[in-house]
């Protein structure tokens, strides 16, 4: 299956869902900064991978899938949780990529400064996509 963009997904979102994400994203970033200010950068760094946003994303995915099925007269509960579980499985692979981002920043920040963030982000994308691809291949072979 090829990765594609589904533009109609934007129509499913409601304005307050976008506001919720901005607020949660802002709060998570403030939390990470606040922890670093109070307890130091070692503790603050942990909270750069705090799953606050994931709670909102998974809940919205579940809700959208359930609503789609309910429009067809079905309960949609199972479909909703399945969709959220798939998202969680993807996030698990993305987390390994996130560790690659942290590794890049740790090793490169003293010499490259802002360049380490760009290279770290590229490392996140590369590691995540590679792991996702490997998992797919392994499932097909199985």
């Amino acid at each position: 299956m090829v990765v594609r963009v589904k533009w109609s997904a934007f129509k499913q979102g409601r304005w307050y869902e976008y506001v919720l994400r901005v607020v949660l994203g802002g709060l998570a970033t403030s939390l990470a900064g606040g922890v670093a200010n109070v307890f130091g950068p070692e503790a603050g760094g942990l909270f750069l991978a705090f799953p606050a946003i994931f709670c909102a994303s998974a809940t919205l995915i579940e809700k959208h899938e359930r609503e789609r099925k309910q429009e067809l007269g079905l309960s949609g509960y199972r479909r909703g949780t399945d969709a959220a579980a798939l998202d969680a499985a993807g996030a698990g692979l993305g987390s390994i990529g996130l560790a690659a981002f942290g590794l890049g920043v740790w090793l490169l920040a003293p010499t490259l400064a802002f360049g380490s963030l760009a290279l770290g982000a590229a490392g996140w994308l590369l590691a995540s996509v590679l792991l996702w691809r490997l998992r797919r291949e392994a499932r097909i072979v199985k």
């Binding site: 963009v5 589904k6 934007f10 970033t29 750069l48 499985a89 993305g94 740790w106």
Partner: protein, 112 residues
């Protein structure tokens, strides 16, 4: 003022990654964006500007442990949804406690 800038930068970057994740298919691929370095990019950019590169490097090192805890968190959420059939809200909020335990425990173990 610092926290307002932090809040706005974080909100915008996180929303951009989340919207990208919304639009991508298949869903397992879109899920990768649930663990995008969105909070990290906003926070570390501000920290580089304000605190310097060595401070950011220390945060990056701890972030590796936070990210591994996030992998455990995602696995747990997946199991709670698929096997126990919990709702997404219940699964994702309950699993925050194990995330905290793994993240803080591994920091204590490896970094002191």
């Amino acid at each position: 003022m610092e926290y307002l800038i932090r809040f706005l930068a974080g909100g915008i970057v996180v929303s951009a990654f989340a919207m990208l994740g919304d639009a991508l298919r298949p869903k397992s691929f879109a899920g990768l964006f649930g663990a995008a370095p969105s909070v990290a990019l906003a926070t570390l950019s501000l920290a580089l500007w304000k605190e310097g590169a060595d401070y950011v490097s220390i945060e990056g090192r701890s972030m590796i442990l936070g990210a591994l805890a996030l992998a455990g968190y995602s696995l747990l959420v997946c199991q709670l949804l698929m096997r126990a059939r919990w709702s997404a809200l219940a699964a994702t909020t309950t699993a925050i406690l194990p995330w905290l335990a793994i993240a803080l425990g591994s920091k204590q173990l490896f970094l002191g």
